[in-house]
């Protein structure tokens, strides 16, 4: 290097290739996080607006929902006072702003029917729904992956046939039919109806809690399992045809190892996608199943609040469901990244 060259300002040394890659990944992760969060917030705002408007399109109002035809007995002064209390007659944007402002300050409002805070009602109901959803998911994944693997391992044979029959049953029969049938069989044939006892929390009475949740979870889990089974079977059959699987077989690896370590592992991406989608639908399914099995969860709270025009509760419960859906989608994306390095880049 000449003296002239040495007197010139030195350009910064190019970073090592590994560091550049890490930065690029870091920027990519930051961008992904920002976009995902914005998308989630946008979804929640959209849901909030839609549920707010839809509830107000229903015939009647909080007064008639609360009093039925007895609302006709109210005097004009009582009507005025109740209109003021419920905010009836206020412009919709004003009502929406009051609600949104409350949410921003951590206040979901007050149940006009029970007098309790929406936060406390949701706080009581949400653990029931979460436990039900998680248990259903576990049942669904066990049923789905096990039958899917069995079907893919022996296409056209008994395992495949029984797995496909299960999938047809699970996808073809709505969960409310399965639930109602389960209730009828258990109660009428076996005189077994654990829901006739007060709902027991997971930590207060785990055994009763299990008895009360296992059948609703099975009702939902069958549907999830059916969808997961179809996806598992298809993905595994696709992967089974790839060259590396043939190589593994050619190397003399045990069938169990080939299926478990090579085929199933590489089929996990579509299974994860399907599981994420199913978990979202499963949250919706809890609304019906909680009603059938009389579980005091978020779904039952939502139905009751809609019937009673208890707007704050219905809006709050819907938002929590929507937030759950958004969260599950984010978690699914995160799991993608963990199990498939290609997605990370």
């Amino acid at each position: 290097m000449s003296a002239l060259e040495s007197s010139l300002p030195q350009a910064p040394a190019p970073p090592p290739a590994q560091t550049r890659g890490a930065r690029r990944r870091g920027r990519g992760l930051a961008r992904w996080t920002t976009v995902t969060l914005l998308r989630g917030v946008g979804t929640l705002i959209g849901v909030a607006i839609v549920i707010f408007i839809v509830l107000r399109l229903l015939p009647g109002n909080q007064i008639t929902a609360s009093l039925g035809v007895s609302a006709g007995l109210l005097t004009p002064a009582q009507h005025r006072a109740l209109n003021h209390f419920y905010g009836i007659g206020q412009p919709l944007p004003t009502q929406f702003w009051h609600w949104a402002d409350g949410i921003l300050h951590g206040n979901l409002g007050l149940s006009t029917q029970s007098g309790r805070t929406v936060t406390s009602l949701i706080g009581t109901a949400l653990p029931v729904t979460l436990e039900l959803a998680i248990l259903s998911m576990i049942i669904g994944l066990i049923l789905g992956i096990a039958s899917g693997v069995a079907a893919a391992a022996a296409p056209g044979r008994f395992g495949d046939w029984s797995g496909q029959t299960f999938a047809l049953f699970g996808l073809g029969i709505p969960n409310f039919v399965i639930g109602a049938a389960l209730v009828a069989i258990l109660s009428n044939v076996f005189h077994y109806f654990p829901s006739s006892k007060s709902y027991a929390g997971l930590f207060s009475d785990p055994w009763l809690n299990f008895q009360q949740l296992i059948f609703p979870a099975l009702t939902l889990g069958i549907g999830v399992g059916a969808a997961v089974m179809r996806t598992t079977r298809g993905a595994m059959l696709d992967v089974s045809r790839l060259a590396f699987v043939r190589s593994a077989r050619g190397k003399g690896l045990a069938r169990r190892v080939v299926i478990g370590r090579h085929v199933l592992r590489n089929a996990l991406i579509p299974i994860t996608t399907m599981s994420g989608i199913q978990f979202g639908y499963l949250l919706g399914g809890t609304v019906i199943v909680e009603q059938i099995f009389v579980l005091p969860g978020l779904g039952r709270l939502l139905i009751t609040s809609v019937q009673e025009h208890d707007y704050a509760v219905a809006q709050g419960a819907t938002l929590v469901f929507a937030a759950g859906f958004v969260l599950v989608n984010i978690l699914t994306d995160v799991i993608y990244m963990l199990i498939d390095p290609r997605v990370r880049t």
Binding site: P59, I63, L67, Q78, R80, A81, H191
Partner: protein, 522 residues
């Protein structure tokens, strides 16, 4: 929505009046002008503590007794709260928190002597101040209590002593006492009203006190250790929601429920020993309400409908015959004879004759508003009536709508005819003053106005003589039936399935479950 829930939606609060829990202790007597009872027994011999599970398809919805409308709320919250007066087995007014009452100033004042030694669950004593505060709370517009209509004649409440409350009326009002029996007129502690805790923490004077509440799931009460009457033998009661009546029956057979509240006769009939099933006539009545306009403005056209309807067949189709055909006042001291009046039984020849007199010998058309969502029997009722009317050429279309839609149309009178389940009361004035009386708040859905009806109702209500009231109310109901203002159909039974371990429970005509306080469980 089952019929039990329907009571809350459609049934007027008057349908459910306070029950006679106190009577066992008081042995009170009453008349139209006064009543009295001996002092309370005080809590004695507290017995052992087993709990009872009561199952219903509905859930407790509101804890404030003044604004509750759901039938189960009346039954569950009714274990906690009491009223000044209640209804006895004959549906006559009897003492409860008031031991006696007398009328003064020509019926323009009602003075209540209040029971001594009664405390609320929070330990505060029950006094006349609580009575006054409760009445003020009920009529306060922001409370939004439909029951305020019971106090329309009350100008003020004075409290000359700690145990005396005087109601000052604008005019004599014999229905006031019946109104005061409603659970919606429960006596509240003044402190709870002031603290605004009624919606979250019930605080009454009844045999049980609030224990816990899980919305949409269960509501539990426990024995009130300071109850002024005989100590309840059952230590606690849990009101449990079970999705459908068939499952309630199964839970009873499994032994996890001791008292099942049923409305479906087919479920009640399948239960067998050791489960016993009692039935009691529901206070609510089914009627075909008719708007007096269009072809139905003609009395002969309405009478043709009345004559063409076989009410027993409607009862059979709707609830498998589990009930009774009734007239305008189904039960109580002023009950109507359902076998009297024009076309008490189906008479097709008479129906055709009325059609000819109406100028429509070949019949006419109209539409009936129903809501299967509100009343699970309404489709069966409607189709049966439709078939019966078609025999004389009357074409009835059925407009079955969602519950909230039905309520909106009903309140605005936007129907030609409507199948309704309305709340009944032993007092005809309470039942029909709101529909046909002067300044009736439900005149629009009633769809019929008559000076005769107004006059008869007002005179009966302002009379202090039960004989005069009986005469005037008989004339009133005769007018309703003979002009086919509406067509009254039937009252259905409620069924109370009890397990063998629950002994001594008897349902009350009001539908209240306060009989549980004197029952035992093994």
């Amino acid at each position: 929505m089952g019929r039990r829930k329907l009571c809350g939606r459609i049934g007027i609060a008057a349908a459910v009046a306070g029950a006679s829990m106190a009577l066992a202790a008081c042995g009170g007597s009453s008349s139209s002008s006064s009543g009295s009872a001996s002092g309370g027994g005080g809590a004695t011999g507290a017995s052992s503590g087993k709990t009872v599970v009561v199952a219903d398809t509905s859930s407790v919805q509101k804890l404030n007794p003044i604004v509750m409308t759901n039938f189960l709320d009346f039954q569950a919250i009714g274990m906690i709260y009491q009223q000044l007066v209640t209804l006895n087995q004959s549906l006559q007014v009897a003492p409860q928190l008031a031991t006696s009452w007398h009328l003064g100033d020509g019926g323009k004042t009602v003075t209540f002597a209040l029971r001594h030694g009664v405390t609320f669950d929070d330990g505060s004593p029950f006094t006349s101040a609580d009575v006054k505060a409760t009445m003020q709370y009920i009529v306060k517009p922001s409370t939004g209590a439909a029951a305020a209509s019971y106090l329309a004649s009350v100008k003020s409440v004075s409290t000359p002593s700690k145990y005396t409350a005087v109601f000052h009326l604008s005019h004599p009002d014999s229905s006031l006492l019946y109104g005061l029996t409603s659970q919606n007129m429960s006596i509240l502690p003044a402190a709870a009203i002031k603290a605004n805790t009624l919606a979250t923490k019930p605080d009454g004077t009844g045999p049980y006190e609030y224990a816990s509440y899980s919305p949409n799931n269960s509501f539990t009460v426990k024995r009130n250790p300071h109850y002024w009457g005989p100590a309840p033998k059952i230590s606690g009661i849990e009101f449990k929601t079970i999705a459908d009546e068939q499952s309630i029956a199964s839970a009873m057979q499994a032994g996890t429920v001791q008292l099942g509240l049923l409305t479906q006769p087919q479920v009640a009939q399948q239960l067998s020993s050791p489960i016993t099933v009692d039935k009691a006539l529901n206070l609510n009545y089914r009627a075909l309400m008719i708007q007096s306009k269009g072809p139905l403005a003609n009395t002969d056209a309405r009478l043709a409908i009345q004559c063409a309807i076989d009410r027993r067949a409607v009862l059979q189709a709707a609830v498998l015959g589990g009930g009774k055909v009734v007239g305008p006042v189904p039960q109580g001291p002023f009950a109507t004879n359902p076998n009297a009046g024009t076309c008490a039984t189906q008479n097709l020849a008479q129906a055709k004759s009325y059609l000819a007199k109406a100028g429509d010998p070949h019949g006419f058309s109209f539409t009936v508003l129903t809501s299967q969502e509100l009343d699970g029997t309404s489709t069966a009722q409607a189709t049966t009536i439709q078939n019966q009317l078609s025999k004389v050429g009357i074409k009835m279309s059925i407009d079955n709508v969602a519950g909230s839609q039905y309520i909106q149309q009903w309140l605005k009178g936007k129907f030609q005819a409507a199948l309704a389940e309305n709340g009944a009361n032993p007092s005809p004035y309470i039942m029909y003053g709101r529909y046909f009386g002067a300044g009736a708040s439900l005149a629009v859905p009633a769809g019929y106005a008559s000076p005769t009806l107004k006059s008869l109702l007002a005179r009966a209500d302002q009379s202090n003589s039960q004989a005069t009231q009986s005469t005037l109310y008989r004339q009133f109901t005769n007018y309703l039936v003979n002009n086919a203002v509406w067509v009254w159909l039937f009252n259905a039974y409620d069924y109370y399935a009890t397990s063998s371990s629950l002994q001594g429970f008897a349902p009350l005509p009001s539908g209240q479950l306060t009989g549980l306080a004197t029952a035992t469980v093994s």
